[in-house]
């Protein structure tokens, strides 16, 4: 298969401006702006979807029309709260932990393509970069729990670390199967490879889609894998001692992670910005629609399933998901060799 890198070329911003620094600033502002707006929209969708699935109505008052400004109001509330650091806590680690949790997901946004020309960077090692950044955010949880000088935070952090490490493997292996399918690591290349047939339609990638979906839920500690932050059991796990803006950054990291991993999933399995031929919409709309659909799926899974216990979590990953993803890689390899 001819690598599809050749015709994608530069981002559209590079075509508009020739000054390198202006381009960098515009891209940084755009990525940051997207990261600040999209998680709020997903968060609002979560409020409303969870509510209606539980026969309630969700926010209705903030902002007047069906509570659209609820999360904005929450943001303002968090900003005006007192910033408390426990006396026995490790101050610098405690303050840095939210940043270490949140920044990797902002950085992942840099490589997500919204169309053949709308993206920030077309890295040759796109998916590898995404996986690496996902691993960095694990350290944020450990830092948060350990520096809090609180037994329950420590337990929550260790549970989280064990869970995240366990589910890194299926995530990476499922992504590796897609890389084998398309023969390249660049996200735009993987999207172009799905011209005519989205990866999810291929049966040997469909199983990979489910593995990647389940592993992403566990990476974000979303229900049903939210034992580390089980609010009815260990208060809020590693984040118990956090207040105000730092706490808001952890929440933003969670929703930003949902948006980032939904974007990665739609690039890997749902054909990214490629649309169906009979529905003429611009490519960024397709991408936004797929991200919304996958975020809805994540929220739907939260509303439906009870929490997995820590040992059930670990057993599921090590004894089911990892062997399954290894098997999937073997199947993909066989299919690729057989189809030559």
């Amino acid at each position: 298969m001819i690598l599809a890198l050749a015709h994608t070329g530069q981002s559209v911003v590079n075509d508009w401006f020739s000054n390198v620094w202006l381009v960098v600033i515009i891209k940084a502002v755009a990525v940051l702006g997207f990261f600040l707006v999209a998680p709020l929209m997903v968060g609002y969708m979560e409020h409303k979807v969870l509510a209606h699935m539980q026969s309630r109505v969700g926010p209705m008052e903030a902002g007047g029309f069906h509570g659209w400004a609820q999360l904005v109001a929450d943001g303002v509330k968090f900003i005006q709260k007192e910033d408390i650091i426990p006396a026995a806590a490790d101050r610098s680690v405690f303050s840095l932990a939210p940043a270490v949790s949140m920044i990797p997901y902002i950085v992942v946004m840099v490589v997500i393509p919204f169309s053949p020309t709308v993206f920030a960077l077309n890295l040759d090692v796109g998916i590898f970069f995404v996986m690496a950044m996902g691993s960095v955010s694990v350290i944020g949880v450990l830092m948060a729990g350990w520096s809090s000088a609180n037994k329950f935070s420590l337990i929550g952090a260790l549970r989280a670390a064990a869970q995240l490490i366990a589910y890194e493997l299926p995530l990476v292996l499922a992504a590796a199967a897609v890389v084998m399918q398309s023969g390249q690591l660049s996200l735009i290349g993987i999207t172009e490879e799905q011209q005519g047939l989205w990866n999810i339609v291929r049966p040997w990638q469909l199983i990979g889609f489910f593995i990647f979906l389940i592993a992403s839920l566990a990476e974000l500690t979303r229900p049903p894998f939210d034992m580390p932050v089980a609010d009815s059991e260990i208060i809020f796990g590693a984040y118990t001692e956090y207040t105000g803006l730092k706490f808001a950054f952890f929440l933003l990291a969670e929703y930003g992670g949902i948006v980032a991993l939904s974007a990665v999933m739609s690039v890997l399995y749902l054909g990214g910005y490629k649309g169906l031929p009979f529905i003429p919409l611009p490519a960024p709309i397709w991408m936004a629609g797929k991200i919304t659909a996958l975020s809805f799926l994540v929220i739907w899974l939260r509303a439906t399933f009870p929490r997995l216990r820590e040992d059930q979590l670990q057993r599921f990953s090590w004894l089911v998901l990892i062997p399954l993803s290894l098997l999937q890689i073997m199947v993909v390899a066989t299919v690729k060799v057989a189809s030559k």
Partner: protein
């Protein structure tokens, strides 16, 4: 893990999706008045002309939240005869910060001077304003609903002879 594990998960997803597509049953109170059932207990109303100051309600109230002051007056009838004495109600107050809405006072009143009304929006900023005097209790009588209809096949109510 048995083979049936996947099916249960999918059925669960179906349940939540169906719940999402049905309209929510929330009554958004300040904008929409709630649909209260018959004989709802909101506030107790006093019809002063029926009260003979027998003190039964004040005595039976478990919380002692009814305060009654009265005095006796005697009138000579115009056509002559023994002076008739009558009790005049000076003060009848119910303290709603104490009232537990058990309804014993309404049940025990032999002269039907106390009634239930479904009004519930009388919250105050000061707890002292929850003490309703007889003027305010009389006003609540305008909100008392007629008694609900008897069920089909019930015996008709007795009439006072």
């Amino acid at each position: 893990m048995q083979g049936g594990i996947g099916l249960g998960l999918l059925k669960g997803l179906g349940v939540t999706l169906k719940a999402m597509l049905k309209p929510a049953m929330t009554v958004q109170y300040p904008h929409v008045k709630p649909d209260l059932p018959a004989r709802t207990r909101g506030v107790i109303a006093l019809k002063q002309e029926n009260c003979t100051v027998c003190y039964k309600c004040a005595r039976e109230c478990p919380d002692w939240c009814i305060y009654i002051d009265a005095h006796k007056e005697s009138h000579e009838p115009a056509s002559g005869g023994r002076a008739r004495s009558a009790k005049i109600l000076d003060r009848f107050a119910i303290d709603y910060s104490l009232c537990m809405y058990c309804g014993i006072c309404v049940e025990v009143c032999p002269f039907d001077a106390l009634f239930w009304s479904p009004e519930f929006e009388y919250a105050e900023y000061g707890v002292g304003e929850l003490l309703h005097e007889k003027e305010r209790l009389e006003e609540w009588t305008y909100t008392v609903l007629p008694p609900p209809a008897l069920e089909v096949g019930a015996e008709p109510a007795e009439e006072a002879s």
